[in-house]
Symmetry: C2
Subunit: 335 residues, 2 copies
């Protein structure tokens, strides 16, 4: 009787069901996290694409297993909600990270549609994992040491002009780019269009790596260039990594320098700071140094916009904000 | 004797030393992969930033441990090479993923400088982990379900105009953006400038999440908007996630819809395809549908460029490539 009263008095209902969105990483068991394995072990029901279910076969004995095909993300989320409402613990498993083009999005979309809130009786946990970006990068060298982005070439849910606009923007601004879903049996022209857009801004010799089935038995790496990218063997299970203007391939490895060469001269076992630069401080062409330089240049915002390939109104606004905004940090930098 | 001959006959020298670049994920032991733990156990020497060494204290008993401060990446790589040359197995440990703004870059830079090649007697292995992007996203909901990018606001090695150009490009083209190294004691204006650039293109109410020390004891989440972002509590250990134009915050969760609403009407437990759309196929506004629409519009490339916010020369080239390039896939799509 007192138990019943206590239950009734709490503001939140006791959690009964649970949905766990589990990222498996690349797929090889040794690259799963402890929490991912524990979440699968804890679950009553496992829902996932057939290939991923097979990867955790040793953990799912005696559990309900619902295998779904690739395109049924919403159905998987609906099934998960259905089981969780019955008080079950459900593991929705994805390769890579469940949050990156994975099941986390459709699951919350379905939950919100059904009127779910985080303080309802169904708990949701997301178990992070290494995404394709990270695992493919680990195999090819160190391509992602500088600013990067991920773009899916799938137009199943995204209008092409949105995708094209993103490709153009990041090609122009020199990101390292990972293309997800680059090609399928039906979608073969998207990669050609991506190449066409990139070639507007980038050197045809820009290094490109194509990684298929990373850390799985059929793993395959291919290095090529932007100019030859569209002719390469690219499929549903490939991730395409396009370097930035500093990325190079050496000894079968793709590496994007972090930028130490902007500040240091490095010889074997030794390094010295370049003239005008200080270890542990912003570059001389960092924000403060750049603001000072453009102020002192005597040039107009229009001239500076051309010189730095930045919008004229941004340069005008940064100049108008004046040096006072950075007094505090300048003082500290001189301490 | 025959053993020695066999050794001499192989083309590659036997590996003696080894450098393992190990990504720990967010830091909590349960989120490390099996391979990351095994690599640390296998190592003779552990090199890393003090905080990360502390996270694996239980695994490093009896090993040489070299703790380094945050700014000494090149020194850490030089030490690793030095030990590996002596035949030692060295684990260079990073939080997150060693490839994402991590130790993989500086290590290969130092190795190449020293004349190392992959077939030399020092083996290099990169052990992928979930990066800050993934772990922060897992805590706030599902912000990365659509195209995203990572930009570091640190100008210690990168000129500000490069960073500003990237911010402007991705703000314009509606990426979800993760800002790494958003602020430090010395660097306080960079986040203000990032906000200024984003507000040129994005709604001031765009959702922003700030995640500090994800999955660690001092973990802290804050939701705000683009307009108030620069006033939020942001530090060295924060990652800032800026949503795209569809991202919303509901029930304390930040979610970017994947785009199912473009194709389906979803009610609880049911879904139906919208008029003109087919399950498992490209959207009617996907590449082929869009090419057909612009061809049939009778509009000039200049007019279409304004309408779709794409470069005029790209539209002209896509039109000039003609429909023949996509005959194969159209035929298949109709099958």
């Amino acid at each position: 009787m007192s138990d019943i009263q206590t239950y009734a008095q709490t503001n939140a209902p006791a959690k009964t069901g649970k949905i766990m969105l589990v990222g498996l990483g690349p797929g090889a068991v040794e690259h799963m996290t402890g929490r991912a394995r524990a979440a699968i072990a804890e679950a009553d029901t496992i829902i996932g694409y057939v290939t991923y279910v097979r990867l955790v076969a040793d953990l799912i004995d005696g559990k309900e297993v619902i295998k779904k095909s690739m395109t049924e993300e919403l159905d998987r989320a609906i099934e998960a909600l259905d089981r969780a409402k019955q008080g079950k613990k459900v593991a929705l498993i994805s390769s890579g990270d469940a949050g990156v083009y994975g099941m986390a999005g459709p699951t919350f979309e379905v939950l919100f549609q059904a009127g779910w809130t985080p303080d309802s009786d169904i708990e949701v946990e997301i178990v992070p994992g290494a995404s394709a970006l990270n695992t493919c990068a680990a195999l090819v060298g160190a391509p992602l040491t500088h600013d990067f982005c991920a773009i899916s070439l799938s137009d199943l849910l995204t209008p092409w002009p949105t995708i094209a606009r993103r490709l153009d923007a990041v090609a122009y601004s020199d990101f390292v780019v990972a293309l997800y879903n680059p090609k399928s049996g039906r979608r073969t022209r998207q990669i050609q269009e991506a190449q066409r857009i990139f070639l507007r801004h980038r050197d045809p010799n820009t290094p490109v790596a194509i990684v298929k089935s990373a850390f799985r038995p059929k793993q395959r790496l291919e290095f090529t260039t932007l100019e030859k990218m569209a002719e390469a063997d690219i499929g549903m299970l490939s991730t395409v990594l396009i370097g930035n203007s500093n990325t190079f391939i050496q000894g079968g490895l793709m590496v994007t320098p972090r930028g130490y060469a902007n500040k240091y001269d490095v010889a074997e076992g030794e390094r010295s700071t370049k003239g005008g630069e200080q270890a542990g401080r912003s570059l001389s062409t960092g924000l403060n140094g750049w603001l000072e330089a453009i102020r002192e240049s005597g040039k107009s915002a229009a001239e500076l916009a051309v010189e730095y390939r930045l919008p004229e109104d941004y340069i005008a606004a940064a100049l108008a904000a004046g040096p006072e905004e950075d007094i505090a940090e300048s003082a500290e930098a001189e301490a």
